[in-house]
């Protein structure tokens, strides 16, 4: 925690900005959407420009005050929780579109812009961005790039970073850095890999550990002319995994804007809730929903191809799940938390993991094992298809008043189980930092980079624990 006198002095120096020092307001900065223990913000500021961010960082550095950065606060990893106290830079008021260059296919935005706002502006030009996170209508672009968001667009691209043309970042010493082609100011943002190694990547998924993102350049993509959802059912996760391997190796995901996989138990629960008399013998053991977007004839062609590949692995279209759930989820623009809430209407601990498609059955087995080992919690799981591999979301629903310690232990257990199943668990809160430390040389290099860019350790340690 900061010295009261230095905090007061800092507050005085920043008084021309929108500043919050009342404990009631600061309560809202103590945690994100994760189950990670809350921190305690001592001061919060809402800058409106990059220049103000530079000024804030310079003042905070003079007082050796810890800095955390927050966008919409919708992430589920605890990276913004201010465990060391200090100052929270809340970028939610930095919401401008700085440049929209349709010829170059790039939009440059401030970090606090909400996705829904940005998408509405781009839709007027028939455009959209590559990845739209599943974390909801309060999610910001800055938060998404700082946390490796995924969601809509993942089957076409991968993760958030694959759709970023460049960044503007303010470093701990106040340096204002532009990456990608924008290192040449007259050139601006249009390509990412121009000058030697890719510094953009250093700030992606880094929770502001290395710098504060003040502008994000995203590539634009045409909005699809038509959209359509459908679901494929498989007897087992193993059969679904073989299908996914072939789909990815044949690049059949170019027009798939979103695809999610659901365990048999989830499918059964939803179908029976809507149609209690449904013949359970016909329910699949694993179901994958597809949201296709393209010209109508391309959708028909890709849908037929996907169905044919599914058939070769014993799968077939399963319309009830699309009608009951998946179509509404996608076309009514609901979000993942809505999905999670619909499932259990309670607080949800989310652990994300990357996994190759061929490990899908192991992933599902790990979830079954968690159900048996932690029966007091309600478990759910879903996978999001990426251009390569999958992202798996593991959800533990719990009562925070009585079950927080239990849920925390269970998520730690899940992390270990998933690692043993060949997955790469991340965003599991404090354990993620421990996981990164186990990487050895990789972690030591990150540490050295942190030391070089932020020697006083002013900026948030983030999920990496740096």
């Amino acid at each position: 925690m900061s010295e009261p006198t230095s905090l007061q002095a800092l507050a005085g120096e920043l008084s021309a900005l929108t500043l919050y020092a009342d404990p009631i307001d600061l309560l809202n900065y103590r945690r994100d959407c994760s189950m990670v223990a809350a921190g305690k913000a001592e001061l919060a500021v809402q800058p409106r420009t990059a220049e103000e961010v530079v000024s804030i960082i310079e003042h905070a550095a003079r007082h050796a005050t810890s800095i955390y950065v927050r966008g919409g606060g919708t992430m589920y990893a605890g990276g913004v929780n201010p465990h060391a106290g200090g100052l929270v830079i809340d970028v939610s008021r930095m919401t401008r579109v700085l440049e929209l260059d349709l010829a170059r296919g790039v939009v440059v935005v401030e970090p606090g812009i909400r996705y829904a706002d940005l998408l509405a502006q781009l839709a007027e030009h028939g455009q959209t961005v590559g990845i739209v996170p599943s974390t909801g209508p309060a999610a910001t672009v800055g938060g998404a790039v700082s946390s490796h968001a995924l969601g809509t667009g993942s089957p076409r691209h991968q993760s958030m970073g694959d759709c970023v043309a460049g960044l503007e970042v303010v470093l701990a010493d106040g340096t204002r850095l532009r990456t990608g082609s924008a290192v040449c100011r007259d050139a601006g943002f249009f390509q990412r890999y121009c000058v030697g190694p890719d510094l953009t990547g250093l700030f992606l998924g880094a929770d502001a550990s290395f710098g504060v993102v003040t502008a994000v350049a995203l590539w634009l993509y045409p909005l699809p002319a038509a959209r359509e959802t459908f679901c494929l059912g498989f007897a087992t996760p193993a059969a679904a995994a073989r299908f996914l391997v072939e789909v990815q190796s044949r690049e059949l995901t170019r027009n798939v804007w979103y695809a999610a996989g659901y365990e048999g138990g989830t499918v059964r629960a939803r179908v029976l809730a809507a149609q209690p008399g449904f013949d359970i013998a016909t329910l699949p053991g694993y179901c994958i929903g597809f949201d296709l977007g393209a010209e109508r004839e391309d959708i028909e062609r890709d849908r037929a191809r996907l169905a044919a590949v599914a058939e070769s692995h014993g799968g077939a279209e399963f319309k009830p799940f699309d009608e009951i759930y998946f179509n509404t989820l996608r076309l009514d623009e609901n979000y993942w938390y809505s999905f999670a809430g619909y499932f259990s209407r309670s607080r949800c601990a989310i652990l994300m993991t990357s996994l190759p498609c061929d490990r899908l059955a192991d992933f599902c087995a790990a979830i079954d094992s968690l159900r048996a080992r932690w029966p007091a919690l309600v478990w759910g799981a879903a996978t999001v298809l990426c251009r390569r591999g999958l992202h798996g979301g593991v959800m533990a629903f719990y009562d925070e008043r009585t079950q927080w310690p239990l849920a925390e232990q269970a998520v730690e257990d899940a992390t270990v189980l998933l690692r043993g199943a060949g997955c790469v668990p991340y965003k599991s809160g404090k354990l993620w930092a421990e996981e990164v430390k186990r990487t050895g040389a990789y972690y030591r290099v990150l540490e050295r980079l942190k030391g070089a860019l932020d020697p006083a350790r002013l900026l948030s340690p983030g999920n990496l624990g740096l």
Binding site: D22, P23, I24, N28, C33, P137, C348
Partner: protein, 387 residues
Amino acid sequence: MTKPIEKLSEDFVSRYERDLYHCSSCNYCVDAVWPERGMHAVCATMEHHSRAPGYSGRGYIEAARAILEGQPLDGEALAERVFTCTGCGNCEAACPIGLRPAAVGLALREELLAADCLPPALASARDAFIAHGNPYGVAREQRYAWATGLARGGDEADTSFFAGCAAALASGEEAQASLALLHAAGLQPRLAGEGCCGAPLAELGLRREGEALARAVAAQLARGGDVLVAGCECGRQLATVGVASRSVAHWLCAAHAAGRVRLGWKHDVTRPAAVQLVESCQLKGESRDGDEAAVAALLASLDVALLNPDFPNRHANCCGAGGGMPAMAPAAAARMARARLPQAGVAVSLDARCARHLRACADEGIEVLGFATFIARYFTLEAGPTA
């Protein structure tokens, strides 16, 4: 810290513990932008009064939870935040798991009242209410001044009309217009209620006192008959004591659709080119959700052009009439009102309280009318073929 709030009542905990501990802090209730649902900003107070997160739905949940877990909070600072909530309910509509942050805020008002932390601007409003039995400082004996000379039903009438304070006392015009519409349709309702329904007290955090007044009104209604109200908040308040009512607007729409009344443009008035309908937060949810949609359909059938064809937007921001905003932050309340009004022309609200506030804040060239006043001014009404 003056007047620290160190604990919450057992009643509060028993009613809202689940909301405090199942909130995932997803921030939908703070800052959701959800165009598909017509939600462009969740909270009018945060848009026009303060961006401090303590003013949000999540802010109320965080504050209550902090107190419950042993962190005392300053009563006056908390009161400034929870009493400026307009009660529009958008934060609850945004919550993905059905939690009730607005209700938590309302319950915190009760806790703050118990700790003598009513903001000064509202304390004077409360005192005026207690002195006069209504929020507008009108003498009790003037409650039915608006109805002087108008016919009214006796004890035998099976329909009751409860005008409510905003329609009856703030100007009287809306109450008169409502009654005139009922008369034109051949109804002669009993004028019910010797006093306020208690909605303003409930909004101040005096829930039980408000319910007592609602029960007093309920006792004066015709037994088993139709209960019509001019004020939307009155209908909501009466529902808390088990009285089912409907707005005059709802009655008119239903009667018109069933052919019991006929409406036609008056020939001696200049028709407005278009009208902006302003949603009332009091008509969100519950059984009244269809009232405004019915009005939109009625006006469309009468060839009234709307300036806001997306009406009713269930996530529209409050006009500033709600909660403690008008008394505590009148400038912000006026900004909220102007954000809901057209650049020029006629605006119509189904809620007499909203209409009063909008009228007070409207720029020159904008006329704000209650729904019944609008109908009575521009349309003739007579009993229809199926009356």
